[in-house]
């Protein structure tokens, strides 16, 4: 029966499993849901905590948080909500006096925070004509990296090797170029 249950649950979407867990409180349902994203949560914990053992413990602690929080809160987008819960858990861990000095948060990992609202904006990438105009307005370094990434579809590593730039520098240029493109395209095509 457990096997059949697993097959049945695996065919459900995240939203379906959320509803099912809220109704039944079945931990197996939540386990099925959590397991879909657990690898990435581990990666998030690794990013912030930089310690595999502590990251594994945090992954299990986050699961325990979900058993309670998911029944209390209305969750529209489970994946984004789970990411927020995981990141908050890690930050709370780092901010606690016991762990404050042991695991300093590297500044280079904070770059992605400012890009949380880019998802909706990227829908406008279809406006290629506008993009081409805006690409001309980027500085040469950003233009080179963005064109390599979006038009030539090169990975970070190849771009870094071709340009001689650091991997993180490549990603930073791409992210900044995306932001400048968004600003430029918003001016050309105002959002309704």
């Amino acid at each position: 029966m457990a096997f059949l249950k697993h097959i049945r649950n695996s065919q459900l979407t995240d939203a379906d499993l959320v509803v099912l867990y809220k109704e039944s409180g079945d931990l197996a349902v939540l386990g099925e849901l959590y397991q879909r994203h657990m690898d990435l949560i581990y990666g998030v914990c690794l990013k912030y905590l930089k310690d595999p053992e502590q990251s594994k413990d945090s992954v299990m602690a986050i699961f325990e948080e979900l058993t309670l929080k998911l029944r209390k809160h209305e969750v529209a987008h489970f994946r984004a909500w789970l990411h927020q819960v995981a990141r908050n858990h890690c930050l709370m861990y780092l901010r606690s006096p016991r762990n404050k000095n042991s695991l300093p948060l590297p500044e280079e990992l904070m770059h992605s925070v400012e890009n949380e609202h880019l998802n909706a904006v990227m829908e406008k990438e279809q406006h290629l004509q506008d993009m081409s105009k805006c690409l001309e307005q980027l500085n040469p370094e950003q233009k080179l990296v963005v064109e390599s990434f979006y038009l030539k579809e090169r990975p970070y590593q190849e771009i870094a090797e071709q340009t001689g730039l650091d991997w993180n520098r490549v990603r930073s240029l791409i992210q900044n170029g995306r932001r400048n493109l968004r600003i430029c395209m918003d001016k050309l095509t105002p959002i309704d």
């Binding site: 931990l27 397991q35 879909r36 657990m38 581990y42 998030v44 690794l46 990013k47 984004a80 990603r171």
Partner: protein, 349 residues
Amino acid sequence: MKSNPLPAFDGAYLERYRRGELSPAEAHALEKAALEDTLLADALDGFRLASLDTTADLSMLRSRLNDRIETNQAVVRQLPKTRFFSPFMRVAAMLLLLIGAGWFSYVYWIDPRESTLASNAPAPSPVSEQRTFAESSPTQPPTPLALPPAPVQQSESVQYRPDRTIRPVEVQLETREMSSDKPEEDLIVKAEEPPASSETKQIEVVSADNTVKDLDKVNAEVAQKELDLATSRQATAMTLTAKEKSLKRSKMDIQRADKPEPVAGWAAYEDYLYGNGSRKSVAPTASNTVTRWEVLLSFEVDDKGRPTEIRVEESGGTYYDGAAKKLLVEGPDWKPGKPGSRGQLRVHF
């Protein structure tokens, strides 16, 4: 949006990215997806910064999660058995329920008096009329019973004790012995019709009259019914209980001297009860198959000789309480007893 694609970029895929095992197209697709998915972007950073192989860690995490779920389910399965639904608890709960139901039935549904009357009712006794005596004095002759004019089809019989020979004389001697030390004892007159009749009626009155007559006549009547009594041992055993109750009441009634009594005497009052049509008015209805009920009333007598302050001491039900009160209110006048004393009238239906 119903469709929710499963994550294409899992831990193994990110580990391959970390090792540089992905093709440029795969790596680019992953990086592009990470730009739109902050969770994936953070995870990608985490895996890229990992110094060791994460495959074993991911496998261990899955194992820990499964253990956690299975442990919880085992606890959930085990809790009800051990705490709430064990066989012992089920048996105990059932016994408790049965005991409670039995007690409730006994207390609220079984009326001991009704059950006694019911057990008397179907007795196959040919007795159609019973008389009991409590003599006021052993030296005085017995008084004739103040019986109503019996219907033609009715016959007479006398109670007896089943552990003795069926001789009503002995019964009377016994009652005489029991009351011999109380010369001032009141007379208890009890007349009862057979329970099988729809017009059965039993009236018991308390009298201060100390004269008892015609004991010989009663003895003769008893002798005539001796054979009938021999065939109804079981029924008479039950009526013995009623007789014992009557004797107890007589002892209680001894203390009722100087209480109000009918102006015309108890015999005339009894005639009133039988003769003024009240029998029909208080007879059980067709729907009420109980053949005998009794009501004990207490009352005061005013200056005009009318009963007032009527109170039901022993109820026979709302219907018979009202019928007895009606008989008393509409009946003959009473002589007041001592000041403050209350008269009593027991009416059997």
